[in-house]
């Protein structure tokens, strides 16, 4: 039996790893990072990723990842797609770009809301892209951290902590990541880009969509015993 299907704790660890890996994939490509991505991908596949519906999208990205033999072209493409580009980034990887009108000051509002949420979750973004709280990489990392807490809570049989972290996961996916990620991915898909990024978007969106369903089911799991009492 695949590892991820053994217990809910192992499923949480698997999800933690998926978010962590995809978060790293949206950071600037570097030779060492690509090596780590491949190693991480091997590990997740070994846990039984094939049993989940987003496997086909994942497999396409995996092939693209394995096909990268020179980091320079995708590093250049990363700059064009996600950072400065010639006329600005083609697909800015930040929530505020898709959900806020900068003229009306909404960018600050989005960032402030996220800061409040991160404080509520007691999380501090990592240093790599800490200047943009709404960066896709940060948001995927936040979900990874929340999944790690879920795994710990399950290991400790700490029901209160488990409930809290599942509520946080659902809140974050439904109010932030799950809302703007599909729009961001469509924008990546609408322009020609390297296979690495063209396949990374659908793989991420497909996983996050699937995981939202998993989280909803897990939340029902904690709600139903209480209703029965």
């Amino acid at each position: 039996m695949s590892e991820l299907l053994e217990t809910l704790e192992k499923l949480a660890r698997f999800r933690q790893g998926m978010y962590r890996l995809l978060s790293a994939a949206f950071l600037p490509p570097q030779p060492e990072r690509l090596v780590n991505l491949r190693a991480g991908a091997d590990m997740l596949e070994g846990m039984g990723l094939v049993h989940l519906a987003f496997y086909n999208e994942w497999a396409q990205w995996r092939r693209a990842l394995d096909d990268v033999d020179d980091v320079i072209p995708i590093d250049t493409e990363y700059v064009r797609m996600f950072t400065t580009g010639i006329a600005g980034a083609v697909s800015p990887p930040t929530e505020s770009f898709y959900r806020a009108d900068p003229i009306r000051g909404e960018t600050a509002e989005v960032l402030a809301n996220l800061r409040l949420l991160y404080d509520k979750y007691r999380l501090e973004p990592t240093a790599v892209v800490s200047d943009t709280l709404d960066h896709v990489s940060i948001q995927l990392e936040v979900m990874s951290a929340l999944c790690a807490r879920e795994a710990e809570a399950r290991a400790e049989a700490n029901d209160r902590r488990l409930e809290l972290t599942l509520v946080h996961q659902l809140e974050f996916v439904e109010a932030h990541l799950g809302v703007w990620l599909p729009v961001f991915v469509n924008r990546i898909a609408s322009g020609e880009t390297e296979p690495f990024f063209a396949t990374l978007g659908p793989a991420t969106a497909s996983f996050v969509h699937h995981d939202a369903g998993v989280i909803r089911s897990l939340c029902r799991g904690i709600a139903e015993p209480e209703q029965a009492r």
Partner: protein, 473 residues
């Protein structure tokens, strides 16, 4: 391309030469799903397995591993051993259905992973299973016009209108497909059971069979029965989704008879039995109007199947809309002028009372199927109606501000002659023009109505608004 069969229980392999695809027989495939890749390096198209002997989640994982989306791979389930010829017919249908599968997006995979809801589950979670679920294309949806047909038809209240669009609760949805066949614009789609797929499957089965065949629409949840007397199953999400068009379409596609059985002794778990019975009775009655034996429409696939209707290889069938299928059936039956009422059909004939209509165009604005349209000429406004598009929802009637005066009526009639004509003008209103600049002011009928409401007391006001446009007053 590959068709893989679990060879246990003496299952025969289909005739490879008829199918023009690789056929592979594998023993113990039900117990050992990873063997699906043994068919070679070709892409898997369809599978034959035995009821109760396989884990759907594991089968889907094995298919996924071959690089194919399992939602697009039909699984034919057996609980007996059909002959090689019967297997060939089943295989031809399944392969044709697979080849019409386009693409499923992440939202089309509904996860069935019950163990996740079990609090602090300690044993194995089991492998998740996925079924095809519908999605709504907002660019085609008529919710902004006020259409709520899918919301009203959903047996589990999974759809809700929210500020001009429809939201869909994937967890509540049971993927029965009723919203898909109810949608007047094709905005709601389940890519695993489209009209194109079903039509391709039926056509392939008809052309492969050696004699007449009956099509038994079978609910996804129903245990398959033996294949006998020329009856072949076509799986749908739920027989409750079958409209008159879906029920009659197989006859136009060359089948000799159609059946839609209910879900066994306990009935439909979401309460669609009455709906199925009503649709079957209505479809039967329509066959009678066309002079076609009502024995071609049955509640279960039993008994000898009649020969197909003559002339079915002539007309093409673009979709399963009730009006289109009835019109095509009329062509097959040689009937070009018939008028009859339908109880359940998505059909309507709209008429406008020229003495009461003010040409306000509200009916046009709310029509979800775009059956009503408006065309403006220099000094007239014309409202046209296309009966082939009308779904009989009645929104035009309920919205009409002159409804109390009978300005617009709708009958649930199939008018075969009218269906062939396309959009026809049903009301033409002359326009009042501004005496100053000559631009149109409003339909004369509307101004007359305002006059009758204002009475003689406000004659000056009326005189002004009927002679001059807004800019020249």
């Amino acid at each position: 391309m590959t068709f893989v069969v679990c060879e246990d229980h003496g299952t025969h392999l289909p005739h490879q030469e008829s199918l023009r695809t690789n056929v592979a027989g594998i023993t113990e495939l039900c117990e050992n799903p990873s063997a699906v890749s043994q068919g070679g390096n070709t892409r898997l198209e369809a599978l034959v397995l035995h009821t109760g002997e396989f884990d759907l989640g594991l089968i889907q994982s094995a298919i996924r591993k071959t690089g194919v989306d399992p939602l697009g791979v039909p699984i034919v389930t057996l609980d007996d051993s059909p002959t090689a010829q019967q297997m060939t017919v089943l295989a031809a249908g399944a392969i044709a259905r697979h080849r019409e599968f386009r693409e499923a997006r992440p939202e089309h995979a509904k996860m069935l992973w019950q163990t996740l809801t079990e609090h602090r589950h300690s044993s194995s979670l089991g492998v998740p299973q996925y079924i095809g679920a519908p999605s709504i294309d907002p660019s085609l949806c008529s919710a902004e016009r006020g259409c709520r047909l899918c919301v009203e038809s959903c047996p589990v209240s999974a759809l809700k209108p929210v500020s001009g669009s429809i939201t869909y609760d994937v967890d509540t949805c049971v993927a029965c497909g009723i919203c898909v066949t109810t949608c007047p614009t094709g905005a709601t789609v389940n890519p695993t059971a489209t009209e194109e797929q079903i039509a391709a499957q039926i056509r392939a089965m008809v052309s492969t069979a050696e004699g007449p065949i009956g099509i038994e629409f079978r609910c996804r949840a129903t245990k398959p029965g033996p294949i006998r007397d020329g009856w072949y199953p076509v799986e749908v999400a739920c027989t409750g989704m079958l409209t008159i068009g879906w029920l009659l379409a197989p006859l136009v596609l060359g089948a000799g008879a159609v059946a839609a059985p209910s879900c066994g002794a306990t009935g439909c778990p979401i309460g669609n039995d009455e709906r199925v019975s009503a649709q079957l009775a209505d479809a039967s009655s329509i066959l009678g109007k066309f002079g076609v034996s009502e024995g071609r429409m049955m509640s279960n696939g039993r008994g000898a199947v009649l020969e197909p209707l003559t002339g079915v290889d002539g007309p093409s069938l673009p979709n399963f809309k009730d009006t289109i299928v009835c019109l095509t059936l009329g062509v097959v039956a040689g009937i070009d002028d018939a008028l009859f009422t339908s109880v359940t059909g998505s059909v309507g004939v709209v008429t406008i009372n020229e003495l009461a209509c003010t040409a306000c165009e509200q009916c046009v604005g709310v029509c979800p199927a775009h059956a009503l349209a408006v065309r403006r000429h220099e000094d007239t406004t014309e409202i046209s109606f296309d009966p082939i598009l009308c779904v009989g929802c009645g929104m035009c009637v309920s919205t009409c501000p002159e409804g109390g005066r009978g300005a617009i009526t709708q009958n649930r009639n199939f008018d075969i002659a009218a269906l062939t004509l396309g959009p026809m003008p049903i009301f033409t209103a002359s326009m009042s023009t501004c005496e100053m600049c000559g631009s149109p002011i409003a339909p004369r009928a509307m101004l007359d109505r305002i006059h009758s409401m204002l009475g003689t007391e406000h004659a000056e006001t009326h005189d002004l608004i009927s002679r001059r446009c807004l800019n020249c007053r």
